[in-house]
């Protein structure tokens, strides 16, 4: 381009032969085409909807929803608006996705490493798991999980696990401490301890590099994280009242519960995605040359430390990009919740669409929310990827 700039085209003919100019023209044309297509689609939709006398717009979001939702992270009643109902759905989707991603990562890591184990039984079991699970459609697996959970006994014959924990086809009921005003400071202590642990780690690593002497930051940090809140708790005189589930009317009252729909969905998503993650972890580890392991072993590192300090950090570079795709898949697969009755965003939006009849808006909202969550997740993982990527020196 620098060469072209010196012979700046003066005539129209020269302009046509300028690669730079043609490039700009093509790009302008493409952008204009995309915009025109988008404009046409929106206009055509509005015209078609208007021709059929169908209401458009997002005005319905402020209206009373008038339907109930089985469970939610935030408070909700049928007198709240559609907007709030959708937010309940978004939080339910996030809840299952975040927990699913965390559990699937752990299970996937363990299974992936197990497949490479020198123990014949463990390696074969891991292979069986991966090949069995990843080759069966997720929807079928969800039905199986849901069937398993709902075939538990009815509440009146619930399995008494002990310590106030009951298992029935209405889910798992557990006692939970009732909120006390002093718990705020306990939580504050926990936050302080966690922040302290982060700084402790930084200091410990620094010291290791400077002096070569290790400091047991994990153990001492954990002691702080557990100890500080306990001290705060004891200082307030250990106020503890348990809300224990008890059978009243149709179902257990009190305590917290894990609904069968949530449990089935979480189990299905975790088990399914973990089988893919296991393969990604295995490929990542195999991508690290065996010489690295041999070198680490000959330096006297134990097998566990070799894996943790030498192999896995290098394997992460291979693992993280495909792992991102699996996380996104899990998030999107969570919309299969409608099939087994977990009130995720898609399920709530479906009800809203049917009650208002505004399908275009409802689907647009669902797509928009999934897009935003996916992009945020993707950005986070890309940031992590650049962090673990090989630094060229």
């Amino acid at each position: 381009m620098g060469g072209l700039r010196t012979t700046r085209p003066k005539t129209l003919r020269a302009l046509v032969y300028s690669a730079r100019f043609r490039g700009i023209v093509y790009q302008v044309l493409v952008v204009a085409g995309v915009l025109a297509l988008g404009w046409y689609l929106v206009q055509n939709t509005l015209a078609n909807l208007a021709a059929r006398g169908i209401a458009t717009g997002f005005g319905f979001m402020g209206q009373e929803a008038g339907f109930d939702i089985g469970e939610g992270v935030i408070a909700y009643s049928s007198a709240d608006t559609y907007l709030r109902a959708l937010v309940v759905g978004v939080f339910n989707t996030l809840k299952v996705a975040v927990l699913g991603i965390a559990l699937a990562s752990v299970v996937g890591l363990v299974v992936g490493i197990s497949r490479l184990s020198r123990n014949w039984l463990i390696a074969r079991l891991a292979t069986l798991y991966v090949e069995g699970v990843r080759n069966v459609p997720l929807l079928l697996q969800l039905f199986v999980w849901y069937g398993l959970v709902t075939s538990l006994p009815v509440p009146r014959q619930a399995i008494d696990v002990g310590l106030g924990v009951f298992l029935s086809n209405r889910g798992l009921k557990m006692p939970v401490p009732e909120w006390h005003s002093s718990y705020g400071s306990v939580v504050a202590m926990l936050v302080i301890a966690v922040i302290g642990m982060v700084f402790l780690r930084r200091w410990a690593i620094n010291r290791l590099y400077r002096t070569g002497r290790p400091f047991p930051w994990i153990l001492s940090g954990l002691a702080g994280v557990i100890g500080l809140p306990l001290v705060a708790f004891a200082l307030f005189g250990a106020p503890l009242v348990w809300s224990v589930p008890e059978l009243r009317g149709f179902n257990f009252q009190g305590g917290v519960d894990l609904s069968p729909e949530f449990a089935a969905l979480l189990a299905g998503l975790t088990v399914y995605t973990a089988s893919f993650i296991a393969e990604i972890v295995r490929s990542g580890i195999l991508a690290v040359p065996h010489g690295q392991t041999e070198a680490a072993l000959s330096l006297g590192l134990s097998r566990a430390k070799t894996l943790r300090l030498v192999v896995l950090p290098q394997a992460l570079r291979v693992i993280v990009p495909p792992l991102t795709s699996q996380y996104l898949n899990l998030l999107k697969n969570s919309s299969l919740a409608v099939a087994i009755g977990y009130p995720d965003l898609v399920s709530v939006a479906n009800t809203a669409i049917n009650q208002t009849g505004q399908a275009v808006e409802g689907v647009a909202v669902t797509m928009g929310v999934f897009l935003v969550i996916s992009l945020a997740l993707s950005l986070l993982m890309n940031w992590y990827n650049t962090k673990v990527a090989l630094v060229s020196r």
């Binding site: 689609l41 055509n44 939709t45 078609n48 909807l49 021709a51 059929r52 006398g53 169908i54 209401a55 008038g66 339907f67 109930d68 939702i69 089985g70 469970e71 049928s78 007198a79 039905f143 849901y146 069937g147 709902t150 075939s151 009815v154 086809n169 209405r170 009243r248 009317g249 149709f250 179902n251 009252q253 069968p260 729909e261 919309s335 409608v338 099939a339 087994i340 009755g341 009130p343 898609v346 399920s347 479906n350 009800t351 669409i353 049917n354 009650q355 208002t356 009849g357 399908a359 275009v360 689907v363």
Partner: protein, 340 residues
């Protein structure tokens, strides 16, 4: 997947230039040679296919009646099975000509959703089914219960309204797939299953491990007038579908049945029967149909009473009593305006 089909329909609204709206629906139907009728995915008694793929039911009979009126042949129907969520977009987008899929007539559907409802062909109400051994005798005893419901109906809203009005609480379990929902209920995941009473009867008769173990509670918590619908903006087509249903109701009132329709046409001296059966001409021309349109409906599909008994009444597995669906002169709500 259902969601995919909904998306496809929405895509049709977005991209399509919709030729179906160019002329009248009646002309378009005549030109293509069949009625495209939206029905339920499978609701025994209303619209369900048998093992050979032949559709039957109270709603299916409306589709057949319209085909008989337009073509003189009740078999000229193509069925589009639709989920609750798909049904409105399918009609709005012109994918189907009419919707006969146990759809409740409501103000918002009649206005904002661009539908025109024809005639109520079944007066229903939302009820509750419970396992008999639960010992519940009235819906008022359901405080705190977990209730299984299908999404995409007015059911969820009715349920919330009724519990709120009675200062009671409940926990909904909303499952999109009919079979999954009923199996969740029969496995005891929910204390109660709430839906239109006719649907409860159908589910109990066909899917319960032992129908006698389940009770349908006496309270109906909503009005559900189920009516076939057409699109806004085509009055001629609205008239054709509306009067096809009226013809079946009027025929029952006048004692005209599948068996005696030819004889009645030949011998009846009742001027209303003569007008109904096209012996006295005029009605067919007014509707843009053959003069024998109503006679063909009754000959091929039967009158309303015959259709009811065959599909949901005592002649069927559902064994639903006529109740509100009896003729007006027998204590019910079925009433056809005069055929003149």
């Amino acid at each position: 997947m259902k969601a995919l089909k909904t998306l496809a329909t929405i895509a049709a609204v977005i991209v399509g230039s919709s030729p179906a709206f160019a002329g009248s629906t009646l002309d378009a139907v005549k030109a293509k040679g069949f009625v495209q009728c939206g029905v339920n995915l499978g609701l025994y008694g209303f619209s369900a296919p048998d093992e050979k793929g032949n559709w039957s039911g109270l709603d299916v009979d409306v589709c057949r009646a319209v085909a008989a009126a337009v073509f003189g042949d009740s078999t000229k129907v193509k069925y589009t099975p639709l989920s609750a969520q798909q049904r409105l977009p399918a009609l709005q987008s012109g994918e189907i000509d009419m919707l006969a899929r146990n759809t409740t007539h409501t103000l918002s559907r009649d206005t904002a959703n661009g539908l025109n409802f024809t005639v109520t062909n079944y007066y229903d109400g939302q009820g509750f089914m419970v396992p008999t051994k639960l010992g519940v005798k009235s819906a008022k005893e359901l405080n705190g219960a977990t209730i299984c419901v299908l999404p995409g109906t007015t059911t969820e809203q009715n349920l919330a309204d009724w519990f709120r009005a009675n200062k009671m609480t409940f926990k909904p379990v909303v499952i999109e797939k009919n079979e999954e929902l009923t199996s969740a209920f029969f496995s005891g995941r929910c204390d109660s299953f709430s839906s239109d009473a006719s649907q409860l009867a159908a589910v109990r008769a066909n899917e319960a491990p032992n129908p006698a173990d389940y009770t349908i509670l006496p309270e109906l918590v909503s009005k559900e007038p189920l009516a076939p619908a057409v699109r806004h903006g085509d009055d001629q087509w609205l008239d054709v579908v509306r009067w096809s249903i009226f013809a079946m109701i009027a025929a029952e009132e006048k004692g005209v049945s599948m068996a005696n329709v030819d004889q009645m046409a030949a011998t009846s001296a009742d001027p209303e029967v003569k007008r109904l059966l096209g012996v006295t001409a005029g009605n067919g021309k007014a509707l843009g149909l053959d003069e024998a349109w109503a006679k063909t409906i009754i000959k091929q599909v039967g009158n309303y009473g015959e259709s009811f008994e065959r599909n949901v009444g005592m002649g069927s597995k559902l064994k639903i009593a006529r109740g509100q669906n009896a003729l007006y002169n027998q204590g019910g709500l079925m009433y056809a305006p005069p055929f003149k």
